[in-house]
């Protein structure tokens, strides 16, 4: 909690410096914000990564941006972006993100704690090296495809999947927090009913001329506008295909960077 507050605080302060914009959580596994990779390839790679999460629970993401919006190093920028997205499951930290900044000609594989043993820095570095020839030739789809294959190969077998992505799991069932919220809401409603019953009884016995008569509709709890209870955190599904939803995974700064 405190850490999260500090992250927010750090973000606010850096934002005040005017130099940095952190990329928002991406809607899908494969995200090309530059339009360099054609639609068919984007969908194919996205489905491969989604399928890989179903099989292994590992969340591998690709995010292509035009450029970095920071004065900091790519390592620091990607580490903090990864943290704010929460890639991978919180209990496994099994996420990894391939960040590509086309105009900066820079890229980085950022690895979560839980994948450090398989997607090592050396392995990440080899993958980065392998992508460079593709990118130098302007073949962004080819480079990304190569990286996706290599990252899947490297991290295979570390964890077992549930057959569903986190985004799919959330669509059908409540998570812990939501269940508690529902329970709290239920208890609150029951308490309100009991209270109003007691109050009505009391009013039956005590007659007070000074008290204004309260219409049932004027009771204070009726003035609370009931939010419909739909959570905005659920899958946004942007652009069709499988959507991605983070599980709160964390990174310790592992991975490798390169430029082409």
């Amino acid at each position: 909690m405190i850490q999260r507050m500090l992250v927010v605080l750090a973000f606010v302060v850096t934002a005040a410096h005017g130099a940095e914009t952190m990329p928002a959580k991406p809607p899908r596994f494969f995200n090309d914000y530059t339009g360099r990779v054609d639609r068919g390839m984007t969908d194919t790679l996205n489905e491969r990564l989604a399928q890989y999460e179903r099989e292994s629970s590992n969340q591998l993401l690709v995010a292509m941006y035009p450029r970095m919006q920071t004065n900091s190093s790519i390592e620091d920028y990607c580490t903090r972006t990864f943290e704010s997205w929460g890639v991978g499951r919180a209990d496994r930290d099994n996420g990894a993100v391939l960040f590509i900044f086309i105009e900066d000609r820079k890229m980085r594989i950022q690895t979560g704690y839980g994948l450090e043993a398989t997607l090592t820095d050396a392995e990440s570095s080899r993958i980065i090296e392998g992508m460079k020839p593709f990118f130098r030739a302007g073949d962004y789809a080819g480079g990304a495809s190569f990286a996706v294959t290599a990252m899947i190969e490297a991290t295979k077998g570390e964890y077992r999947g549930t057959g569903k992505t986190l985004a799919e799991g959330r669509r059908h069932s409540l998570n812990g927090t939501q269940a508690w919220l529902m329970l709290g809401l239920l208890l609150f409603i029951i308490a309100m009913i009991v209270l109003s019953a007691l109050q009505a009884r009391k009013r039956g016995y005590v007659y007070d001329a000074k008290r204004r008569y309260q219409l049932p509709g004027d009771r204070w709890w009726n003035t609370i506008s009931w939010s419909s209870g739909s959570s905005s955190g659920w899958s946004s599904g942007g652009g069709g295909g499988s959507s991605w939803s983070g599980g709160g995974g964390s990174t310790g700064g592992g991975g490798a960077s390169g430029s082409w």
């Binding site: 850490q3 410096h17 620091d76 903090r80 820095d121 570095s125 310790g252 490798a256 960077s257």
Partner: protein
């Protein structure tokens, strides 16, 4: 008689509330202190990771070229001295942290010099084993800066807690002392960090 009972009751209730608040506050201090110690373990862990790469690095460099020995000796010595500065419960004061920094800094410096010298040996740079070590070394350096940053964050939260009411009245009595921060690395491209000064000159600007 009745008034006396009411007064006593109120006093008793007051004490109970106070005791509950004290327990809650104490537990919060304990968990915050645990957080600092856990994060310190993480810091030592990533520094250890860097130190563990060194024997392999020295071997690779030695084998690949008739390399000047003095840098390698420096690194080996620095690595040995690093192992001597360890704190299981985290650094208790600025001096201890400075000692740790000094030892790790000399190792970092020796590694930096090695990497500069390596530039003169194209064969070594092309060596796959060396490239892999270099990637791991870079990863270690990056992990170190991440975990140092997080250490400063948890220390800041902890220090704020022991300096706030009500803990400020009894934190020192119960042995909760102010923890030192890491200094920002000179010349390193680090993000602007939020720093609060607590006005005793020990914390960094």
């Amino acid at each position: 008689m009745k008034t006396l009972l009411i007064v006593l009751g109120v006093i008793a209730a007051f004490i109970v509330v106070l005791a509950l608040a004290a327990v809650g506050s104490y537990n919060a201090l304990v968990s915050s202190n645990q957080g600092v110690e856990a994060q310190w373990a993480q810091v030592e862990n990533v520094y250890q990771r860097r130190a563990d790469l060194i024997p392999n690095l020295v071997k690779t460099v030695e084998g690949a070229a008739n390399f000047e020995k003095s840098t390698l000796i420096d690194i080996t010595e620095a690595r040995a001295s690093v192992g001597k500065v360890q704190f299981t419960n985290g650094p208790q004061n600025a001096e201890q942290l400075a000692q740790f920094e000094k030892a790790q800094g000399s190792l970092g410096g020796a590694l930096g010099r090695l990497m500069v010298i390596v530039e003169k040996y194209p064969d070594l740079k092309a060596n796959a084993g060396f490239q892999s070590l270099q990637a791991q070394l870079e990863g270690s350096e990056n992990r170190i800066s991440v975990e140092r940053g997080r250490f400063n964050e948890v220390v800041q939260a902890y220090n704020t807690k022991i300096k706030s009411v009500p803990a400020v009245f009894y934190a020192a009595l119960l042995g909760f002392i102010e923890r030192p921060y890491f200094k920002a690395k000179e010349g390193a491209a680090e993000p602007p960090k939020v720093e609060f000064k607590f006005g005793d000159g020990k914390t960094q600007p």
